[in-house]
């Protein structure tokens, strides 16, 4: 057996798993639709700089000649108070929203998963300390906490991400910990202990992979929530700063023109709505296939 065939062999069953998951995921029409939209959003985000009709309107300054024009053949979603193409800015905003949401959720997962797993798998004093700290964080509403942290760090998109990440991890910690406590009692963990597997390996090799499913579901739903929170922070002036084409910021500026330029707030708002919706739907679909009970083909 050559080296490459060995690698292929170990990848093949994983591919079959992915295929099976996709098959199950696509069985539900709504999930199929949301998966499609999420993929579309991802592609849009990646290709944004190349596909927008007016790339110059993303960052640069005014174009006062065309200010506050309604949707037309030239500007599909109309223009804003500085004469910039809203369509281009909304498309580019996908990139910013997805990027910030992924980083913020990723940060929260990075803190939350190890802490939760260690707490659940170890028990005793360690568990007690980690979970009480978590409780302190959980006793603030996450949005308020994020606002406080963002205000403390100073308004910028990076700080907003950090603020969200820091205010979000306790939810994952609690989720993972609950799972880990039940997984810890499973026989395969006992078996690993009987073999003499070191504790770190037991936590990250056996316990974490088995409690990750609900976290994936939660995270995919949270991406929607985080996009909303970033938009809220930006709306309050604590997130993205002009001229960044962030959806929340755009909605925030559009307030002043709402009565005579409906398109200005509607389109970025719609973008937020659709994105949050599809991530929630996807999360629902994932829950269905990751739940071992419904998973049985």
């Amino acid at each position: 057996m050559t080296k490459s065939s060995g690698i292929m062999n170990s990848i093949k069953p994983r591919i079959t798993e992915i295929k099976l998951s996709l098959y199950l995921l696509c069985r539900n029409r709504l999930t199929r639709l949301s998966l499609g939209v999420v993929i579309l959003l991802g592609l849009t985000a990646l290709a944004a700089p190349f596909i927008v009709p007016h790339p110059e309107h993303i960052e640069t300054e005014a174009n006062p000649v065309d200010k506050l024009l309604p949707p037309s053949g030239k500007y599909y979603f109309g223009t804003d108070e500085l004469g910039r193409d809203i369509f281009s800015r909304v498309i580019y905003g996908t990139r910013i929203s997805l990027q910030t949401a992924l980083i913020a959720v990723g940060l929260a997962l990075l803190i939350g998963i190890p802490l939760g797993a260690i707490a659940g798998a170890t028990g005793g004093m360690v568990d007690e300390v980690i979970m009480r700290i978590t409780d302190i964080f959980l006793s603030f509403p996450p949005l308020l906490l994020a606002i406080a942290i963002a205000a403390f760090l100073g308004p910028s998109l990076e700080n907003a991400m950090l603020a969200i990440g820091v205010s979000w991890w306790p939810w994952y910690t609690r989720l993972i910990r609950g799972q880990a406590v039940s997984i810890r009692e499973r026989q395969f963990v006992k078996a690993a202990r009987a073999i003499g597997t070191p504790p770190v390996r037991i936590i990250f090799g056996h316990i974490v992979p088995n409690c990750i499913a609900p976290v994936i579901v939660q995270a995919s739903m949270d991406i929607g929530g985080v996009i909303l929170t970033i938009a809220s922070l930006s709306f309050l002036g604590l997130g993205a700063q002009p001229p960044t084409p962030e959806w929340g910021l755009m909605v925030s500026t559009s307030r002043n023109y709402f009565l005579n330029a409906w398109w200005y707030s509607i389109f970025p708002g719609l973008a937020i709505f659709v994105t949050v919706l599809v991530f929630n739907l996807l999360g629902d679909g994932l829950r269905e296939i990751l739940d071992p009970k419904t998973r049985k083909i």
Binding site: K19, L20, Y23, L24, R27, I297
Partner: protein
């Protein structure tokens, strides 16, 4: 013969992402009123699928009932609308599942659960329902019934829980009881008690029991007639005595040899070839890849059921060959 319950040409398939697979293929199966009929086969043979099909509890998708009929008191269960099935379940046909813990609701006391069943099915006051529930618990021979009423499922032992499940199954006067490996995962001592209980109830109430098991020993203890199921097909059927005395199908023999004998005797060497899924896709016999007696004909054509003697039927090409068919050779070694 009064045909109380009859399955005719039942075919059930499962949709998987590799295509549709047949899991149940039963030509005929008849139960007489008041008898205990055993279904034996290893896991994956389709025993539970059969039970769930009868009650129409099989989730669809992935399962598909391709054809056939299940006649119960002359009416085809497969043709009934869901609303009528709901009336049949519990009141006429009831089921005991393998795992009593997941059958019982952990947040209600067992008494409450039995009372609910009564109140859902009969127009009686709570007082009366309580009295009847107490009677049911006494019927399944649990001592100190009053005390048991107030207990939660997790406070009871496995055997006590299974007794409660039986009480619930019979509380609406079901006349047909499907017991799906009711003693699996129970200790042998507890198992013996549950078997006795089922036999006694069957005798006292005259219910018909379809007893599903993977162990021929259990079935021989409480059933009069038995059918051996392999990969969704009945390979041998007859009275327990006929099948045990003169097993004709190689699969039946393997099952027989698998039972550890009591008191000093050693287990017979069993056929250790592991089951292969592809047997289902063959045109021929579904025991082909594991069979020690196979011939070319077994691969290409499906054996039909033939009568041996009395009520003893076997579906095997080799069963009717020459003078001394089946049997003999296998039991030694």
């Amino acid at each position: 013969m009064g045909e109380y319950f009859k399955i005719k040409e039942l075919r059930v398939g499962f949709k998987t992402f590799e295509g549709q697979k047949n899991v149940l293929d039963i030509d005929t199966m008849v139960l007489n009123k008041g008898e205990t009929f055993g279904i034996v086969g290893e896991s994956g043979a389709g025993k539970t699928v059969l039970a769930l099909t009868i009650l129409r509890l099989l989730s669809s998708p992935p399962s598909v009932i391709e054809s056939g009929s299940i006649l119960f008191n002359g009416e085809d269960l497969l043709q009934k609308p869901e609303s009528e099935m709901r009336k049949i379940r519990g009141r006429h046909i009831s089921m005991i599942f393998q795992d009593p813990m997941s059958t019982l609701n952990p947040v209600f006391t067992v008494g409450e659960q039995i009372i609910r069943v009564f109140r859902n099915n009969k127009r009686i006051s709570r007082k009366e329902a309580e009295k009847e529930a107490l009677g049911m618990i006494e019927m399944v021979k649990l001592p100190d019934a009053k005390n048991i009423m107030g207990k939660y499922p997790h406070e009871l032992s496995g055997g006590q829980r299974q007794r409660i499940v039986i009480a619930i199954a019979l509380s609406c006067g079901a006349e047909f009881l499907i017991a799906d490996e009711p003693t699996r995962n129970l200790d042998v001592t507890i198992q013996a008690g549950i078997l006795k209980l089922i036999a006694e109830l069957q005798r006292e109430l005259g219910v018909t029991v379809l007893f599903i098991a993977n162990n021929l020993g259990l079935v021989s203890a409480i059933c009069k007639r038995v059918a051996i199921l392999n990969a969704g097909r009945i390979v041998e059927t007859g009275s327990v005595r006929e099948v045990l005395k003169d097993p004709r199908h190689p699969y039946t023999l393997t099952l027989l040899n698998a039972i550890p004998r009591n008191k000093g005797e050693r287990v017979n060497r069993v056929n250790t070839i592991i089951k292969e899924e592809r047997d289902r896709d063959l045109r021929g016999c579904r025991y082909y890849s594991r069979c020690m007696e196979k011939q070319e004909i077994c691969r290409d054509s499906e054996p039909t059921s033939g009568l041996i003697l009395g009520t003893h039927w076997v579906a095997c090409h080799r069963a009717f060959e020459g003078g001394e068919p089946g049997g003999g050779q296998h039991t030694e070694g």
